[in-house]
Symmetry: C2
Subunit: 320 residues, 2 copies
């Protein structure tokens, strides 16, 4: 089991850089004042399809052989990875097959269909998704692209940290949210490779704390019935991302639901940018900790995406 190195991430960056947005690193004086540290936000909410996932999907597709490319790519997902793979495949001119539960929200079906992907509906269970995906692979010969359990995906996701540290090399702590661990793996490898004394921390919802348990116990824990507003972080680590994270990350901090909403509101209202709840988890995890060792530090945070479900958000916020 081989995890990518810094140089694999640098190679991925050369490969994808002309296809992705170089997203801005934003700062906010008022947020710094409120929280007592100096924050640098890498805005992957402005990435194509509104999420960092476009980096990994593009790198995975551009790493295929011509014979593989011809038969296309597939995945089972209804989230940002599906949209990212669909658009990256369209850009490369190859077919994409997306297996999706028929219960997926209409807006997500429309997004993927809008990028020209073939949608294959299935019953909404993990077993049915995998069975349907296998059938599609048999019929089309397409390459299955897992959302995080893949070398090229991890290498691609690491390019966001690469750009952040190229722009702000003085960062003391770099943070990413953790779900399946693709972004955190790439971020940790890139950051430790470029700057061995940097601290790499992750934020995870307290209600989906499988990565936390895995990291501190040394044994891979599954994600059981996670219930969090950070719906991009419901998945569990794979053996591959677990290894990358154990070898390169320094800490996983937990964020309670209320602080995830508070951090989300803080970023919307102070920075005037739209992020999805998963992106607010690192900041929420900092706010949650009893010991604020991070006060006064320079902290880079990867804002993972901007696909906020407005109706869901509306149902959560409190009037003033």
């Amino acid at each position: 089991m081989v995890i990518p190195s810094l140089s694999d991430i640098q190679t991925a960056h050369s490969r994808i850089r002309s296809f992705i947005h170089r997203t801005p690193v934003l700062t906010s004086t008022s947020l710094n004042r409120i929280l007592g540290a100096e924050f640098f936000f890498k805005c992957e909410n402005f990435q194509k399809v509104g999420a960092f996932k476009y980096r990994g999907a593009t790198n995975a597709i551009l790493s295929l052989t011509p014979a593989e490319l011809e038969k296309g790519v597939g995945t089972h997902s209804s989230g940002n990875h599906a949209a990212a793979l669909a658009l990256a495949a369209a850009m490369a001119g190859v077919p994409a097959y997306i297996v999706m539960p028929h219960t997926a929200p209409a807006i997500k079906k429309a997004a993927v269909a809008g990028y020209g992907a073939h949608i294959v509906f299935c019953e909404p269970t993990q077993e049915e998704r995998e069975k349907t995906m296998m059938k599609v692979q048999e019929e089309t010969g397409c390459t299955f692209i897992h959302p995080y359990d893949r070398f090229e995906i991890i290498a691609g996701q690491g390019t966001a940290a690469l750009e952040l540290l190229e722009e702000i090399p003085t960062v003391d702590i770099i943070m990413a949210p953790v779900g399946g661990g693709g972004l955190l793996s790439g971020t940790a490898i890139a950051a430790k490779g470029l700057k061995p004394d940097i601290q790499v921390w992750a934020g995870e919802p307290q209600n989906a704390d499988d990565a936390f348990k895995s990291f501190y116990s040394g044994e891979l824990h599954p994600s059981i019935n996670p219930k969090t507003i950070a719906d991009g972080l419901l998945t569990s680590l794979s053996e591959l991302t677990f290894k990358a994270i154990r070898e390169n990350a320094d800490a996983i901090l937990l964020a309670p639901e209320q602080l995830i909403m508070d951090a989300l509101n803080l970023i919307l209202q102070r920075m005037k940018i739209v992020i999805e709840p998963s992106s607010a988890v690192p900041l929420a995890a900092l706010m949650a900790g009893p010991e604020k060792h991070w006060k006064g530090k320079k902290i880079g945070i990867i804002l993972s995406g901007g696909n906020l479900d407005m109706a869901m958000f509306a149902s959560q916020i409190k009037p003033d």
Copy 2:
């Protein structure tokens, strides 16, 4: 009655440029594709206090004499102008007196108080506001800074268009929302001064269509019982802004409430930036018109502010 010229706006810009944010001009491929034109958004939602009002307030304060400065500035408002004047006064080290109805939302009181202004509460009627303001002026000797009926305010607001056209000189049409007319006046004077063949259009809520009536009838109409979600656009033109707009703007387009919400959602979801409803009015007005003469054109739009009331917004949006 003298309105500012292009050179007054250029002078204002030299005066304030080191105190304001040079806000970015953002574009969105997907929004251009959906609407069929090329849009350039001047992001005053990222301006200090989250609104273009900081430009005019800063210019007004920096234009006072030392004797006037010493006695401070005042205004009656509970909106962006109050916050802008409070912060600009704090930056200049002079006192600010803000007359506010005691019924103003707690969050607005807190914002103004947070900038160190003296808040003077009054009953929530226009008459009481003006009476209280006069009393404060008598007691303190402060200079009353009207939110738009003032030469230096108009000149200051025009600097946003100056920056936009400096960056994108090929714009065919430039648009701003219109309420009291300070932003539209400055925008129109700057744009026509720099580029006489440019079209200057305004967007106004259909439910607050006093500027529309004034512009096309040639007589100043008051704003009577306006009811719109675009709460920054409830005021009427003054003689000064009416003159500036009649001499320099080409058209005022009306936007129905539903399209204001649709345009707001489009910008939040496609551009991942937070704007207030007033900022969505120009785009909504374009979407409303039966004839789309603007299709295929390069259109500059000033996004006036980002102080979106999340609870209000939540109560308006429809689930998918």
